[in-house]
Amino acid sequence: MLLSVEDLTLEAGGRRPILRDVALQVRRGEIVGLVGESGSGKSTIARAVLRLLPQGARVSGRVLVGGEDVLTMDDARLRALRASDVSMIYQDPRSSLNPVRRIGDFLTERMILTLGRPAAEARSRAAELLAAVGMRDPERRLRQYPHELSGGMLQRVVIAAALAADPALILADEATSALDVTTQAETLALLRTVQAERGLGMLFITHDLHLASAFCDRVHVLYAGTVVESRPAADLFADPRHPYTAGLLGCTPELGDPRPLRPIPGRPPSLDDLLPGCPFSPRCPHAEAECETWAPRPVAVEGGVAACRLIPVAVQERSPV
Protein backbone atom coordinates (compact mmCIF):
# COMPACT_ATOMS: atom_id res chain seq x y z
CA MET A 1 0.00 0.00 0.00
CA LEU A 2 1.46 3.29 -1.10
CA LEU A 3 -0.68 5.64 0.91
CA SER A 4 -2.90 4.63 3.74
CA VAL A 5 -4.80 7.16 5.78
CA GLU A 6 -6.29 5.61 8.90
CA ASP A 7 -8.83 7.26 11.17
CA LEU A 8 -7.48 10.70 10.47
CA THR A 9 -9.21 13.29 12.63
CA LEU A 10 -8.08 16.87 12.51
CA GLU A 11 -9.35 19.77 14.58
CA ALA A 12 -8.27 23.38 14.30
CA GLY A 13 -10.41 25.82 16.17
CA GLY A 14 -13.81 25.41 14.52
CA ARG A 15 -16.82 23.94 16.30
CA ARG A 16 -16.54 20.75 14.30
CA PRO A 17 -13.38 18.90 13.23
CA ILE A 18 -12.09 19.66 9.73
CA LEU A 19 -11.67 15.93 9.19
CA ARG A 20 -13.45 13.14 11.02
CA ASP A 21 -12.21 9.54 10.97
CA VAL A 22 -11.04 9.71 7.39
CA ALA A 23 -9.77 6.45 5.91
CA LEU A 24 -8.48 6.02 2.38
CA GLN A 25 -5.87 4.05 0.48
CA VAL A 26 -3.92 4.61 -2.70
CA ARG A 27 -2.12 1.74 -4.36
CA ARG A 28 0.72 1.90 -6.82
CA GLY A 29 -0.51 2.61 -10.34
CA GLU A 30 -3.92 3.69 -9.10
CA ILE A 31 -5.73 7.02 -9.42
CA VAL A 32 -7.95 7.69 -6.44
CA GLY A 33 -10.41 10.54 -6.58
CA LEU A 34 -11.41 12.73 -3.66
CA VAL A 35 -14.55 14.75 -4.32
CA GLY A 36 -16.17 17.38 -2.16
CA GLU A 37 -17.54 20.89 -2.03
CA SER A 38 -15.81 23.81 -0.34
CA GLY A 39 -15.17 23.20 3.33
CA SER A 40 -15.36 19.44 2.94
CA GLY A 41 -11.72 19.12 3.95
CA LYS A 42 -10.42 17.56 0.74
CA SER A 43 -7.38 19.82 0.44
CA THR A 44 -6.61 19.34 4.10
CA ILE A 45 -6.24 15.61 3.51
CA ALA A 46 -3.70 16.17 0.74
CA ARG A 47 -1.78 18.60 2.85
CA ALA A 48 -1.84 16.23 5.81
CA VAL A 49 -0.06 13.65 3.67
CA LEU A 50 2.88 16.11 3.57
CA ARG A 51 2.24 17.17 7.17
CA LEU A 52 1.39 20.69 6.04
CA LEU A 53 -1.19 21.17 8.75
CA PRO A 54 -3.24 24.22 9.68
CA GLN A 55 -1.74 26.08 12.59
CA GLY A 56 -2.80 24.88 15.99
CA ALA A 57 -4.18 21.67 14.51
CA ARG A 58 -4.86 18.69 16.76
CA VAL A 59 -4.42 15.49 14.82
CA SER A 60 -5.12 11.89 15.58
CA GLY A 61 -4.94 8.81 13.43
CA ARG A 62 -2.19 7.77 11.05
CA VAL A 63 -1.02 8.80 7.61
CA LEU A 64 1.19 6.03 6.29
CA VAL A 65 3.31 6.58 3.21
CA GLY A 66 5.09 3.38 2.28
CA GLY A 67 4.35 2.11 5.77
CA GLU A 68 5.85 5.06 7.63
CA ASP A 69 3.66 7.42 9.64
CA VAL A 70 4.10 10.94 8.29
CA LEU A 71 2.56 12.53 11.37
CA THR A 72 5.18 11.20 13.76
CA MET A 73 8.38 11.03 11.70
CA ASP A 74 11.29 13.34 12.54
CA ASP A 75 11.96 16.53 10.58
CA ALA A 76 14.86 15.16 8.55
CA ARG A 77 12.87 12.14 7.41
CA LEU A 78 9.89 14.40 6.67
CA ARG A 79 12.02 16.59 4.42
CA ALA A 80 13.34 13.53 2.64
CA LEU A 81 9.78 12.30 2.15
CA ARG A 82 8.67 15.63 0.74
CA ALA A 83 11.74 15.81 -1.46
CA SER A 84 11.65 12.41 -3.05
CA ASP A 85 8.64 10.24 -2.20
CA VAL A 86 5.58 12.47 -2.56
CA SER A 87 4.95 15.36 -4.93
CA MET A 88 2.09 17.77 -4.91
CA ILE A 89 0.46 19.64 -7.81
CA TYR A 90 -1.59 22.65 -6.85
CA GLN A 91 -4.59 24.34 -8.32
CA ASP A 92 -3.08 27.60 -9.46
CA PRO A 93 0.18 27.07 -11.34
CA ARG A 94 0.81 30.80 -11.43
CA SER A 95 1.02 31.09 -7.68
CA SER A 96 2.95 27.84 -7.35
CA LEU A 97 6.05 29.31 -8.93
CA ASN A 98 8.19 32.03 -7.45
CA PRO A 99 7.56 34.91 -9.90
CA VAL A 100 11.09 36.29 -9.59
CA ARG A 101 12.89 33.05 -10.38
CA ARG A 102 13.36 31.30 -13.68
CA ILE A 103 11.58 28.09 -14.69
CA GLY A 104 14.96 26.37 -14.57
CA ASP A 105 15.52 27.39 -10.94
CA PHE A 106 12.11 26.05 -10.02
CA LEU A 107 12.80 22.70 -11.65
CA THR A 108 16.34 22.21 -10.40
CA GLU A 109 15.94 23.63 -6.91
CA ARG A 110 14.71 20.39 -5.41
CA MET A 111 17.27 18.28 -7.25
CA ILE A 112 20.26 20.43 -6.34
CA LEU A 113 19.42 21.70 -2.91
CA THR A 114 17.62 18.80 -1.31
CA LEU A 115 18.74 15.80 -3.28
CA GLY A 116 22.30 17.03 -3.72
CA ARG A 117 22.65 16.40 -7.44
CA PRO A 118 25.28 18.31 -9.42
CA ALA A 119 23.92 21.44 -11.08
CA ALA A 120 24.72 20.42 -14.65
CA GLU A 121 23.07 17.04 -14.26
CA ALA A 122 20.01 18.65 -12.68
CA ARG A 123 19.76 21.06 -15.55
CA SER A 124 19.86 18.45 -18.26
CA ARG A 125 17.36 16.39 -16.31
CA ALA A 126 15.10 19.43 -16.07
CA ALA A 127 15.25 19.84 -19.84
CA GLU A 128 14.40 16.14 -20.28
CA LEU A 129 11.43 16.53 -17.97
CA LEU A 130 10.10 19.53 -19.86
CA ALA A 131 10.35 17.55 -23.06
CA ALA A 132 8.58 14.67 -21.35
CA VAL A 133 5.59 16.88 -20.47
CA GLY A 134 5.35 17.94 -24.08
CA MET A 135 7.01 21.33 -24.09
CA ARG A 136 8.88 22.43 -27.15
CA ASP A 137 12.32 23.99 -26.93
CA PRO A 138 12.95 23.05 -23.28
CA GLU A 139 16.34 24.79 -23.09
CA ARG A 140 14.71 28.13 -23.83
CA ARG A 141 11.88 27.45 -21.38
CA LEU A 142 14.40 26.90 -18.61
CA ARG A 143 15.59 30.48 -19.00
CA GLN A 144 12.11 31.98 -19.03
CA TYR A 145 10.18 33.49 -16.14
CA PRO A 146 6.75 32.25 -15.05
CA HIS A 147 4.94 35.32 -16.33
CA GLU A 148 6.13 34.56 -19.84
CA LEU A 149 4.16 31.28 -19.97
CA SER A 150 0.45 30.56 -20.18
CA GLY A 151 -1.45 28.83 -17.38
CA GLY A 152 -1.56 25.52 -19.21
CA MET A 153 2.18 25.67 -19.92
CA LEU A 154 2.92 26.49 -16.30
CA GLN A 155 0.88 23.55 -15.10
CA ARG A 156 3.05 21.37 -17.34
CA VAL A 157 6.11 22.87 -15.66
CA VAL A 158 4.61 22.10 -12.27
CA ILE A 159 3.96 18.53 -13.35
CA ALA A 160 7.53 18.26 -14.63
CA ALA A 161 8.78 19.51 -11.27
CA ALA A 162 6.59 17.00 -9.49
CA LEU A 163 8.24 14.24 -11.50
CA ALA A 164 11.75 15.57 -10.89
CA ALA A 165 12.44 13.42 -7.89
CA ASP A 166 10.83 10.24 -9.23
CA PRO A 167 8.13 10.17 -6.59
CA ALA A 168 5.92 7.18 -5.97
CA LEU A 169 2.86 9.24 -5.05
CA ILE A 170 1.40 12.36 -6.60
CA LEU A 171 -1.14 14.55 -4.86
CA ALA A 172 -3.10 16.60 -7.38
CA ASP A 173 -5.08 19.25 -5.52
CA GLU A 174 -7.63 20.70 -7.98
CA ALA A 175 -4.71 20.52 -10.39
CA THR A 176 -6.81 21.40 -13.44
CA SER A 177 -9.63 23.48 -11.96
CA ALA A 178 -8.06 26.82 -12.80
CA LEU A 179 -7.54 25.84 -16.43
CA ASP A 180 -9.85 26.18 -19.39
CA VAL A 181 -11.84 23.07 -20.24
CA THR A 182 -9.81 22.17 -23.31
CA THR A 183 -6.53 22.83 -21.50
CA GLN A 184 -7.83 20.82 -18.58
CA ALA A 185 -8.44 17.83 -20.83
CA GLU A 186 -4.99 18.05 -22.34
CA THR A 187 -3.37 18.38 -18.94
CA LEU A 188 -5.32 15.38 -17.70
CA ALA A 189 -4.20 13.38 -20.71
CA LEU A 190 -0.63 14.24 -19.83
CA LEU A 191 -1.14 13.38 -16.17
CA ARG A 192 -2.61 10.02 -17.05
CA THR A 193 0.25 9.28 -19.44
CA VAL A 194 3.00 10.01 -16.95
CA GLN A 195 1.07 8.21 -14.24
CA ALA A 196 0.67 5.09 -16.35
CA GLU A 197 4.26 5.15 -17.66
CA ARG A 198 5.75 5.39 -14.21
CA GLY A 199 3.19 3.37 -12.33
CA LEU A 200 2.52 6.22 -9.94
CA GLY A 201 -0.14 6.33 -7.30
CA MET A 202 -2.23 9.47 -7.51
CA LEU A 203 -4.64 11.17 -5.18
CA PHE A 204 -6.79 13.32 -7.43
CA ILE A 205 -8.73 16.01 -5.63
CA THR A 206 -11.58 17.84 -7.34
CA HIS A 207 -14.96 19.41 -6.76
CA ASP A 208 -16.26 17.92 -10.02
CA LEU A 209 -17.89 14.54 -9.56
CA HIS A 210 -18.15 13.94 -13.30
CA LEU A 211 -14.48 14.63 -13.76
CA ALA A 212 -13.54 12.34 -10.90
CA SER A 213 -15.62 9.48 -12.17
CA ALA A 214 -14.22 9.89 -15.68
CA PHE A 215 -10.60 10.14 -14.62
CA CYS A 216 -10.21 8.00 -11.49
CA ASP A 217 -10.27 4.32 -10.66
CA ARG A 218 -11.89 4.74 -7.28
CA VAL A 219 -13.60 7.78 -5.80
CA HIS A 220 -14.10 8.94 -2.24
CA VAL A 221 -16.87 11.46 -1.66
CA LEU A 222 -16.22 13.80 1.21
CA TYR A 223 -18.84 15.79 3.08
CA ALA A 224 -18.06 18.03 6.06
CA GLY A 225 -14.81 16.19 6.77
CA THR A 226 -16.38 12.74 6.61
CA VAL A 227 -15.97 10.18 3.81
CA VAL A 228 -19.61 9.44 2.97
CA GLU A 229 -19.04 7.08 0.09
CA SER A 230 -16.05 5.24 -1.31
CA ARG A 231 -16.56 3.13 -4.45
CA PRO A 232 -15.10 2.29 -7.85
CA ALA A 233 -15.73 5.26 -10.13
CA ALA A 234 -18.10 3.50 -12.51
CA ASP A 235 -20.24 2.02 -9.72
CA LEU A 236 -20.43 5.32 -7.91
CA PHE A 237 -21.59 7.11 -10.98
CA ALA A 238 -24.09 4.48 -12.10
CA ASP A 239 -25.55 3.65 -8.74
CA PRO A 240 -24.73 6.12 -5.97
CA ARG A 241 -25.61 4.69 -2.56
CA HIS A 242 -25.20 7.68 -0.28
CA PRO A 243 -27.92 10.36 -0.57
CA TYR A 244 -25.26 13.07 -0.83
CA THR A 245 -23.57 11.40 -3.79
CA ALA A 246 -26.95 10.91 -5.42
CA GLY A 247 -27.78 14.53 -4.67
CA LEU A 248 -24.54 15.77 -6.22
CA LEU A 249 -25.20 13.79 -9.39
CA GLY A 250 -28.80 14.94 -9.44
CA CYS A 251 -27.91 18.59 -9.28
CA THR A 252 -25.08 18.62 -11.81
CA PRO A 253 -26.20 19.66 -15.29
CA GLU A 254 -25.24 17.24 -18.04
CA LEU A 255 -24.68 17.57 -21.75
CA GLY A 256 -27.33 15.05 -22.75
CA ASP A 257 -31.05 15.70 -22.81
CA PRO A 258 -31.83 18.13 -20.05
CA ARG A 259 -33.42 16.44 -17.08
CA PRO A 260 -34.79 18.61 -14.30
CA LEU A 261 -32.11 19.44 -11.78
CA ARG A 262 -32.83 18.38 -8.25
CA PRO A 263 -30.89 20.89 -6.17
CA ILE A 264 -29.77 19.87 -2.71
CA PRO A 265 -31.46 22.32 -0.34
CA GLY A 266 -29.42 24.34 2.13
CA ARG A 267 -25.70 24.99 1.89
CA PRO A 268 -22.50 23.10 2.64
CA PRO A 269 -21.77 23.30 6.37
CA SER A 270 -19.09 25.67 7.61
CA LEU A 271 -16.58 24.87 10.31
CA ASP A 272 -18.83 26.52 12.85
CA ASP A 273 -21.82 24.28 12.23
CA LEU A 274 -22.00 21.69 14.96
CA LEU A 275 -23.07 18.38 13.46
CA PRO A 276 -23.51 15.73 16.13
CA GLY A 277 -25.04 13.02 13.95
CA CYS A 278 -24.86 12.36 10.24
CA PRO A 279 -23.51 15.64 8.82
CA PHE A 280 -25.74 15.43 5.77
CA SER A 281 -28.97 14.88 7.70
CA PRO A 282 -30.04 18.57 7.67
CA ARG A 283 -30.03 18.56 3.86
CA CYS A 284 -30.95 14.95 3.24
CA PRO A 285 -34.32 14.23 1.57
CA HIS A 286 -34.53 10.83 3.30
CA ALA A 287 -33.39 11.93 6.73
CA GLU A 288 -35.20 10.59 9.78
CA ALA A 289 -35.03 11.83 13.33
CA GLU A 290 -32.48 9.17 14.28
CA CYS A 291 -30.09 10.37 11.56
CA GLU A 292 -29.41 13.51 13.57
CA THR A 293 -27.78 11.51 16.31
CA TRP A 294 -26.33 8.61 14.30
CA ALA A 295 -22.55 8.88 14.20
CA PRO A 296 -21.57 8.06 10.64
CA ARG A 297 -19.58 4.90 10.10
CA PRO A 298 -18.78 3.05 6.87
CA VAL A 299 -21.23 0.40 5.84
CA ALA A 300 -20.22 -2.16 3.23
CA VAL A 301 -22.01 -1.73 -0.10
CA GLU A 302 -21.30 -3.15 -3.51
CA GLY A 303 -17.66 -2.43 -4.36
CA GLY A 304 -16.94 -0.25 -1.34
CA VAL A 305 -18.49 1.53 1.59
CA ALA A 306 -21.05 4.25 2.23
CA ALA A 307 -21.79 5.96 5.51
CA CYS A 308 -25.57 6.11 5.67
CA ARG A 309 -27.87 4.80 8.34
CA LEU A 310 -30.61 4.10 5.82
CA ILE A 311 -28.73 1.64 3.67
CA PRO A 312 -30.64 -1.60 4.18
CA VAL A 313 -27.56 -3.70 4.80
CA ALA A 314 -26.55 -1.37 7.50
CA VAL A 315 -29.90 -1.67 9.21
CA GLN A 316 -29.60 -5.44 9.24
CA GLU A 317 -26.02 -5.46 10.39
CA ARG A 318 -26.59 -3.02 13.19
CA SER A 319 -26.35 -4.87 16.44
CA PRO A 320 -29.26 -4.18 18.79
CA VAL A 321 -27.40 -2.41 21.53
Binding site: L50, L52, A83, L97, N98, L113, T114
Partner: protein, 311 residues
Protein backbone atom coordinates in the same frame (compact mmCIF):
# COMPACT_ATOMS: atom_id res chain seq x y z
CA UNK B 1 14.29 49.03 -22.71
CA UNK B 2 15.89 52.08 -24.29
CA UNK B 3 12.47 53.58 -24.91
CA UNK B 4 11.55 53.01 -21.30
CA UNK B 5 14.65 54.76 -20.05
CA UNK B 6 14.09 57.61 -22.49
CA UNK B 7 10.51 58.06 -21.38
CA UNK B 8 11.60 57.90 -17.77
CA UNK B 9 14.23 60.57 -18.40
CA UNK B 10 11.71 62.82 -20.14
CA UNK B 11 9.40 62.55 -17.14
CA UNK B 12 12.35 63.31 -14.93
CA UNK B 13 13.23 66.46 -16.83
CA UNK B 14 9.60 67.58 -16.74
CA UNK B 15 9.43 67.09 -12.99
CA UNK B 16 12.69 68.95 -12.53
CA UNK B 17 11.50 71.85 -14.64
CA UNK B 18 8.26 72.04 -12.71
CA UNK B 19 9.98 72.00 -9.34
CA UNK B 20 12.59 74.54 -10.38
CA UNK B 21 9.77 76.75 -11.57
CA UNK B 22 8.00 76.45 -8.23
CA UNK B 23 11.21 77.13 -6.35
CA UNK B 24 12.03 80.18 -8.40
CA UNK B 25 8.45 81.36 -8.66
CA UNK B 26 7.99 81.14 -4.92
CA UNK B 27 10.90 83.43 -4.25
CA UNK B 28 9.65 85.81 -6.92
CA UNK B 29 6.17 85.87 -5.44
CA UNK B 30 7.46 86.50 -1.95
CA UNK B 31 5.94 89.59 -0.38
CA UNK B 32 8.36 92.43 0.13
CA UNK B 33 10.98 93.79 -2.20
CA UNK B 34 14.17 91.69 -2.24
CA UNK B 35 16.06 94.91 -2.63
CA UNK B 36 15.38 95.81 0.97
CA UNK B 37 17.00 92.54 2.05
CA UNK B 38 19.83 93.06 -0.39
CA UNK B 39 20.48 96.46 0.85
CA UNK B 40 20.77 94.99 4.26
CA UNK B 41 18.18 97.22 5.89
CA UNK B 42 20.35 100.28 5.67
CA UNK B 43 18.80 103.65 6.44
CA UNK B 44 18.48 106.46 3.93
CA UNK B 45 18.65 104.30 0.82
CA UNK B 46 19.07 106.51 -2.18
CA UNK B 47 17.00 105.65 -5.26
CA UNK B 48 20.25 105.51 -7.21
CA UNK B 49 21.65 102.87 -4.89
CA UNK B 50 18.46 100.80 -5.13
CA UNK B 51 18.49 101.07 -8.89
CA UNK B 52 22.08 99.89 -8.95
CA UNK B 53 21.23 96.90 -6.81
CA UNK B 54 18.24 96.13 -9.02
CA UNK B 55 20.40 96.25 -12.10
CA UNK B 56 23.07 94.10 -10.52
CA UNK B 57 20.56 91.37 -9.72
CA UNK B 58 18.44 91.94 -12.86
CA UNK B 59 15.39 92.49 -10.71
CA UNK B 60 13.66 94.72 -13.25
CA UNK B 61 13.43 92.08 -15.97
CA UNK B 62 10.10 90.27 -16.56
CA UNK B 63 9.56 87.08 -14.60
CA UNK B 64 10.10 84.71 -17.49
CA UNK B 65 13.39 86.34 -18.40
CA UNK B 66 14.57 86.17 -14.82
CA UNK B 67 13.53 82.52 -14.55
CA UNK B 68 15.17 81.65 -17.85
CA UNK B 69 18.39 83.36 -16.88
CA UNK B 70 18.42 81.72 -13.47
CA UNK B 71 17.80 78.30 -14.99
CA UNK B 72 20.42 78.79 -17.68
CA UNK B 73 22.97 79.95 -15.15
CA UNK B 74 22.12 77.09 -12.84
CA UNK B 75 22.64 74.61 -15.66
CA UNK B 76 26.01 76.20 -16.30
CA UNK B 77 26.99 75.85 -12.69
CA UNK B 78 26.35 79.46 -11.75
CA UNK B 79 23.94 79.58 -8.86
CA UNK B 80 24.36 83.26 -8.18
CA UNK B 81 25.78 85.06 -5.19
CA UNK B 82 24.54 84.82 -1.67
CA UNK B 83 22.88 87.97 -0.34
CA UNK B 84 24.11 87.15 3.11
CA UNK B 85 27.67 85.96 2.66
CA UNK B 86 28.35 87.75 -0.60
CA UNK B 87 30.00 84.55 -1.83
CA UNK B 88 29.36 82.41 -4.84
CA UNK B 89 26.55 80.05 -3.84
CA UNK B 90 28.42 77.25 -5.55
CA UNK B 91 31.41 77.76 -3.30
CA UNK B 92 29.18 77.77 -0.24
CA UNK B 93 27.64 74.51 -1.32
CA UNK B 94 30.96 72.95 -2.21
CA UNK B 95 32.34 73.78 1.19
CA UNK B 96 29.41 72.33 3.05
CA UNK B 97 28.39 69.40 0.90
CA UNK B 98 31.05 66.93 2.14
CA UNK B 99 29.74 67.13 5.70
CA UNK B 100 26.16 66.53 4.60
CA UNK B 101 27.02 63.74 2.19
CA UNK B 102 29.17 62.08 4.84
CA UNK B 103 26.35 62.32 7.29
CA UNK B 104 23.80 60.89 4.86
CA UNK B 105 26.12 58.08 3.77
CA UNK B 106 26.92 57.19 7.37
CA UNK B 107 23.23 57.16 8.28
CA UNK B 108 22.32 55.16 5.17
CA UNK B 109 24.80 52.43 6.02
CA UNK B 110 23.44 52.35 9.56
CA UNK B 111 19.78 52.15 8.65
CA UNK B 112 20.13 49.69 5.81
CA UNK B 113 22.23 47.23 7.79
CA UNK B 114 20.37 47.52 11.07
CA UNK B 115 16.92 47.99 9.60
CA UNK B 116 17.04 45.00 7.28
CA UNK B 117 18.67 42.85 9.96
CA UNK B 118 15.98 43.71 12.49
CA UNK B 119 13.20 43.15 9.98
CA UNK B 120 14.52 39.76 8.94
CA UNK B 121 15.05 38.79 12.56
CA UNK B 122 11.51 39.77 13.49
CA UNK B 123 9.96 37.94 10.56
CA UNK B 124 12.01 34.77 10.92
CA UNK B 125 12.14 34.40 14.67
CA UNK B 126 8.62 35.59 15.39
CA UNK B 127 7.41 35.41 18.99
CA UNK B 128 9.14 37.57 21.51
CA UNK B 129 11.78 38.88 19.11
CA UNK B 130 9.10 40.01 16.72
CA UNK B 131 7.02 41.83 19.27
CA UNK B 132 10.10 43.51 20.73
CA UNK B 133 11.16 44.76 17.31
CA UNK B 134 7.64 45.92 16.48
CA UNK B 135 7.29 47.73 19.79
CA UNK B 136 10.75 49.27 19.49
CA UNK B 137 10.17 50.51 15.98
CA UNK B 138 6.72 51.87 16.81
CA UNK B 139 8.37 53.90 19.52
CA UNK B 140 11.31 54.94 17.34
CA UNK B 141 9.04 56.36 14.64
CA UNK B 142 7.21 58.36 17.27
CA UNK B 143 10.18 60.34 18.50
CA UNK B 144 10.85 63.39 16.36
CA UNK B 145 14.51 63.64 15.33
CA UNK B 146 15.08 66.86 17.23
CA UNK B 147 13.86 65.27 20.45
CA UNK B 148 15.95 62.17 19.83
CA UNK B 149 18.93 64.35 19.04
CA UNK B 150 18.52 66.33 22.22
CA UNK B 151 18.20 63.12 24.19
CA UNK B 152 21.33 61.65 22.59
CA UNK B 153 23.27 64.85 23.25
CA UNK B 154 22.29 64.97 26.87
CA UNK B 155 23.05 61.30 27.50
CA UNK B 156 26.11 60.53 25.35
CA UNK B 157 27.40 64.05 24.96
CA UNK B 158 26.85 65.81 28.26
CA UNK B 159 26.39 63.00 30.80
CA UNK B 160 28.77 60.34 29.51
CA UNK B 161 30.95 62.58 27.39
CA UNK B 162 31.57 59.87 24.80
CA UNK B 163 30.94 62.02 21.78
CA UNK B 164 31.49 65.70 21.03
CA UNK B 165 28.34 67.74 21.45
CA UNK B 166 28.78 70.22 18.64
CA UNK B 167 31.06 71.05 15.77
CA UNK B 168 31.84 68.86 12.86
CA UNK B 169 34.24 67.23 10.52
CA UNK B 170 35.40 64.01 12.06
CA UNK B 171 33.85 60.60 12.16
CA UNK B 172 33.06 60.87 15.86
CA UNK B 173 31.41 64.22 15.29
CA UNK B 174 29.10 62.61 12.80
CA UNK B 175 28.18 59.56 14.88
CA UNK B 176 25.42 61.03 17.01
CA UNK B 177 23.87 62.97 14.10
CA UNK B 178 23.97 59.86 11.91
CA UNK B 179 22.31 57.80 14.62
CA UNK B 180 19.60 60.45 14.97
CA UNK B 181 19.06 60.54 11.25
CA UNK B 182 19.00 56.76 10.99
CA UNK B 183 16.68 56.16 13.93
CA UNK B 184 13.38 56.74 12.18
CA UNK B 185 14.70 55.13 9.00
CA UNK B 186 15.67 51.95 10.85
CA UNK B 187 12.12 51.73 12.10
CA UNK B 188 10.63 52.19 8.65
CA UNK B 189 12.98 49.76 6.94
CA UNK B 190 12.67 47.05 9.55
CA UNK B 191 8.90 47.32 9.38
CA UNK B 192 8.82 47.15 5.61
CA UNK B 193 11.24 44.22 5.63
CA UNK B 194 9.24 42.36 8.24
CA UNK B 195 5.93 43.06 6.54
CA UNK B 196 7.19 42.06 3.10
CA UNK B 197 8.68 38.85 4.42
CA UNK B 198 5.55 37.93 6.34
CA UNK B 199 3.51 38.52 3.19
CA UNK B 200 5.90 36.49 1.06
CA UNK B 201 5.83 33.66 3.57
CA UNK B 202 2.08 33.32 3.10
CA UNK B 203 2.37 32.89 -0.66
CA UNK B 204 1.60 29.57 -2.27
CA UNK B 205 4.95 29.13 -3.93
CA UNK B 206 6.63 29.16 -0.52
CA UNK B 207 4.34 26.34 0.57
CA UNK B 208 5.20 24.58 -2.66
CA UNK B 209 8.91 24.91 -1.90
CA UNK B 210 8.29 23.64 1.62
CA UNK B 211 6.25 20.73 0.28
CA UNK B 212 9.16 19.82 -1.97
CA UNK B 213 11.30 19.28 1.09
CA UNK B 214 13.48 22.37 0.88
CA UNK B 215 15.15 23.22 4.19
CA UNK B 216 13.55 26.10 6.06
CA UNK B 217 16.75 28.17 5.97
CA UNK B 218 16.89 27.91 2.18
CA UNK B 219 13.22 28.77 1.89
CA UNK B 220 13.83 31.96 3.82
CA UNK B 221 16.84 32.95 1.74
CA UNK B 222 15.77 31.82 -1.73
CA UNK B 223 12.07 32.58 -1.62
CA UNK B 224 10.94 34.69 1.28
CA UNK B 225 13.78 37.22 1.39
CA UNK B 226 14.26 37.18 -2.36
CA UNK B 227 10.60 38.01 -2.83
CA UNK B 228 10.72 40.74 -0.21
CA UNK B 229 13.73 42.37 -1.83
CA UNK B 230 11.69 44.55 -4.20
CA UNK B 231 9.77 46.57 -1.60
CA UNK B 232 12.80 46.68 0.70
CA UNK B 233 15.13 48.14 -1.93
CA UNK B 234 12.47 50.62 -3.03
CA UNK B 235 11.91 51.77 0.51
CA UNK B 236 15.65 52.04 1.24
CA UNK B 237 15.99 54.24 -1.83
CA UNK B 238 13.06 56.47 -0.92
CA UNK B 239 14.22 56.86 2.65
CA UNK B 240 17.80 57.68 1.78
CA UNK B 241 16.57 60.13 -0.85
CA UNK B 242 14.44 61.87 1.71
CA UNK B 243 17.29 61.92 4.15
CA UNK B 244 18.87 64.98 2.57
CA UNK B 245 15.85 66.93 3.72
CA UNK B 246 16.19 65.37 7.16
CA UNK B 247 19.62 66.92 7.54
CA UNK B 248 17.88 70.28 7.95
CA UNK B 249 16.85 69.37 11.47
CA UNK B 250 19.79 67.25 12.48
CA UNK B 251 22.47 69.66 11.35
CA UNK B 252 20.70 72.47 13.16
CA UNK B 253 20.51 70.55 16.43
CA UNK B 254 24.11 69.37 16.31
CA UNK B 255 25.45 72.63 14.95
CA UNK B 256 27.02 70.94 11.93
CA UNK B 257 27.76 73.24 9.05
CA UNK B 258 26.28 71.30 6.17
CA UNK B 259 23.77 72.34 3.56
CA UNK B 260 20.83 71.64 5.87
CA UNK B 261 21.86 74.22 8.38
CA UNK B 262 22.82 76.48 5.49
CA UNK B 263 19.22 76.31 4.30
CA UNK B 264 17.78 77.17 7.71
CA UNK B 265 20.12 80.11 7.98
CA UNK B 266 19.33 81.26 4.47
CA UNK B 267 15.61 81.23 5.09
CA UNK B 268 15.91 83.14 8.33
CA UNK B 269 17.99 85.83 6.59
CA UNK B 270 15.88 85.88 3.39
CA UNK B 271 18.92 84.81 1.40
CA UNK B 272 16.99 83.71 -1.70
CA UNK B 273 19.81 82.60 -4.00
CA UNK B 274 21.06 80.20 -1.34
CA UNK B 275 17.55 78.99 -0.49
CA UNK B 276 16.81 78.35 -4.13
CA UNK B 277 20.08 76.58 -4.73
CA UNK B 278 19.85 74.30 -1.71
CA UNK B 279 16.23 73.40 -2.41
CA UNK B 280 17.04 72.72 -6.04
CA UNK B 281 19.97 70.54 -5.03
CA UNK B 282 17.85 68.54 -2.61
CA UNK B 283 15.08 68.07 -5.12
CA UNK B 284 17.54 67.00 -7.81
CA UNK B 285 19.14 64.52 -5.45
CA UNK B 286 15.75 63.16 -4.40
CA UNK B 287 14.53 62.73 -7.94
CA UNK B 288 17.79 61.16 -9.06
CA UNK B 289 17.81 58.59 -6.29
CA UNK B 290 14.14 57.67 -6.69
CA UNK B 291 14.57 57.34 -10.44
CA UNK B 292 17.58 55.09 -9.99
CA UNK B 293 15.58 52.92 -7.63
CA UNK B 294 12.74 52.70 -10.10
CA UNK B 295 15.08 51.80 -12.94
CA UNK B 296 16.59 49.09 -10.75
CA UNK B 297 13.19 47.46 -10.12
CA UNK B 298 13.21 45.26 -13.25
CA UNK B 299 16.55 43.81 -12.14
CA UNK B 300 14.85 42.66 -8.95
CA UNK B 301 11.46 41.70 -10.31
CA UNK B 302 11.39 40.33 -13.87
CA UNK B 303 7.64 40.98 -14.07
CA UNK B 304 8.30 44.71 -13.97
CA UNK B 305 10.07 44.43 -17.32
CA UNK B 306 6.97 43.79 -19.36
CA UNK B 307 4.53 45.67 -17.19
CA UNK B 308 6.52 48.81 -17.69
CA UNK B 309 6.94 48.41 -21.38
CA UNK B 310 3.19 47.95 -21.71
CA UNK B 311 2.35 50.94 -19.59
Amino acid sequence: MALRVARKLAGLVATLLATSFIIFGAAYAAPGDPVTFLAGGKENLTPEYLAAVRAQYHLDDPFSVQYGRWLWDALNGDLGRSFQYNDEVLDLLAARLPTTLGLVAYATVLFVVIGVALGVLAAVRGGRTDSTVVAGTTFATSVPPFVAATALISVFGVQLGWFPVAGGGSFTHLTLPAITLALGAVAIISRVTRQAMVEQRELDHVTVARASGLAERLIVVRHVFRGALGPVVTMCGLVSAGMLAGTVTVETVFGLSGIGSLLVGAINTHDFPVTQAVLLLMVVAYITVTTLVELAQPLIDPRARIERSRA
